[in-house]
Assembly symmetry: C2
Homo-oligomer: 300 residues x 2
């Protein structure tokens, strides 16, 4: 089951509280977490694979032209066709991102717990010099992760986005032996537990990465837990946001001329919420019990 309405809602509240504390203390959230500095990150363009290698190549080139030096290609046809189909996709992704670009592949849990099916792709991932293979298996399949990690000394495994509490993330590291732990602050319970995972990643000598595909408010929140970890450079950057994700922030986070990302200097999360811009998404809802009104959508 992956019915996480309560953890998602709670996570949103937790992140908003950090923003509030930061604003009350005129301090960025990362400083409240004990970091001395917010280091620049290397954002990777996160895109879905094209249906054909040609489309995937074009997506990689487009990301490159937008200034990204890293790109992740995922889901779509991966694991759904032949071994050769996947090899062609990986090769096209490499061509698109360029020889010197950072190439990441996201299998979107396609192999369930089938270690051999995933392992069959390792040599072509190595040939394309992929930095990581993400979510080959279900989030809970720690044994499968560990077995594949053992067979893949060069291409590290990435996983953890499914973690909806600190413990699951820790197990993904300690039992699953991932090389990159990917944490979604909007799912794990917010910034507090995400920071605890970052600490655990440092202790275990693996790399922390954010998992973010929604708004720039979420993006800022997701970078705070590892903002001060200079060696944990790479960060996910949503490339195909929904309009709501754009409308919510007055000051989105945009990579600089070097393709690097730096958090805004403002207090809290540093993102100015555009309450006017999101007004049109509000849905009038009413909930009452025993004839008493318990909830009405507030005015913005």
């Amino acid at each position: 089951m992956d019915m996480l309405q309560a953890p998602h809602t709670w996570s949103g509240i937790e992140m908003a509280l950090w923003d509030l504390i930061g604003k009350a203390r005129s301090a960025p959230v990362w400083s409240l977490l004990g970091y001395k500095k917010a280091h620049k990150k290397m954002p990777y363009a996160s895109v879905l694979c094209g249906d054909t290698p040609e489309e995937t190549r074009a997506l990689g080139k487009a990301a490159r032209e937008k200034g990204f030096r890293a790109a992740k290609f995922g889901w779509g046809p991966i694991g759904r066709g032949t071994l050769k189909d996947d090899e062609d996709q990986f090769a096209a992704a490499r061509e698109g991102v360029g020889k010197d670009g950072i190439l990441l592949i996201d299998a979107g849990q396609i192999w369930g717990e089938d270690v051999d099916a995933a392992a069959a792709r390792l040599s072509s991932l190595e040939a394309q010099n992929a930095l990581w293979l993400e979510e080959p298996f279900q989030g809970y399949a720690y044994e499968a992760y560990a077995a594949l990690a053992k067979r893949s000394p060069r291409v590290k495994l990435a996983g953890g986005e499914a973690a909806h509490n600190y413990h699951m993330a820790r197990h993904t590291i300690d039992f699953g032996h991932v090389g990159f732990v990917q944490i979604d602050c909007g799912r794990i319970g917010g910034i507090g537990p995400a920071k605890a995972v970052a600490d655990h990643a440092v202790a275990r000598g693996i790399t922390y990465v954010n998992h973010t595909f929604t708004s720039h408010l979420a993006l800022s929140a997701s970078i705070q837990p590892f903002a001060g970890l200079e060696a944990h450079r790479i960060c996910e950057y949503p490339m195909e946001p929904k309009q709501l994700a754009l409308d919510i922030a007055k000051n989105p986070l945009v990579p600089d001329a070097n393709g690097e990302l730096v958090l805004h200097e403002g207090p809290g999360l540093g993102i100015a919420v555009n309450t006017t811009g999101i007004r049109k998404y509000l849905v009038d809802v009413e909930i009452s019990a025993k004839g008493k009104r318990l909830y009405t959508t507030p005015k913005l």
Copy 2:
């Protein structure tokens, strides 16, 4: 986080669907799961420890007088006072349940992940011949479970009630090395995933037990997944149900003269729901969005 409204709701729906299929096919749920027979279970009276050893002794005697040959004592003072306090509680519990009774102790996660604190109680649990020590740690603390299991060859560990999916239960067995895996059908996603855990327990040579502290509808559902496993004898029996838990069933499950429990013969879950009896618990709720009524509490 332990905010499991969605898994709990889903579990209720899943169990109701098994009941419905069983009624449509005139077959008990356990037969739909592939079992040839529903074996008798040995219900244990599940009670909270008294504040003093005297109270705990009296609770054990009361359970014994009601015909129970097994009793579980939990929570309350355990782990909150001195080592001696716990020893006195365990001794009183043994006296209450009698020399030939089955004694179970439930620590209610009191030691977090502190293996040494739990291990300090092992010798007195052994001295009282306790069958199991339940939930010494948080549900996700598989490493702590494994470490304690290694130090406790005689008193087996019991755990798993926190599992809200099949994977968590499997990890409690494979990483936590419990001797008894306790599954709550109302939390794990219903009868289907619970049966998968029972199969895994059989494959691993450990014992499956239900976790139930609510209604007799839930009790019947919770026994179905291991009804056909003759060697998995012991079953939890809620001793201190809320009035709603009693009012919901016209034909509660009551131990026989030998203190054994057998499922009703009727199809599905075999429990007749008393819709009249639970009418008084209904709360009138209305939910509307965009002026359209989405939900209104139905009439019973």
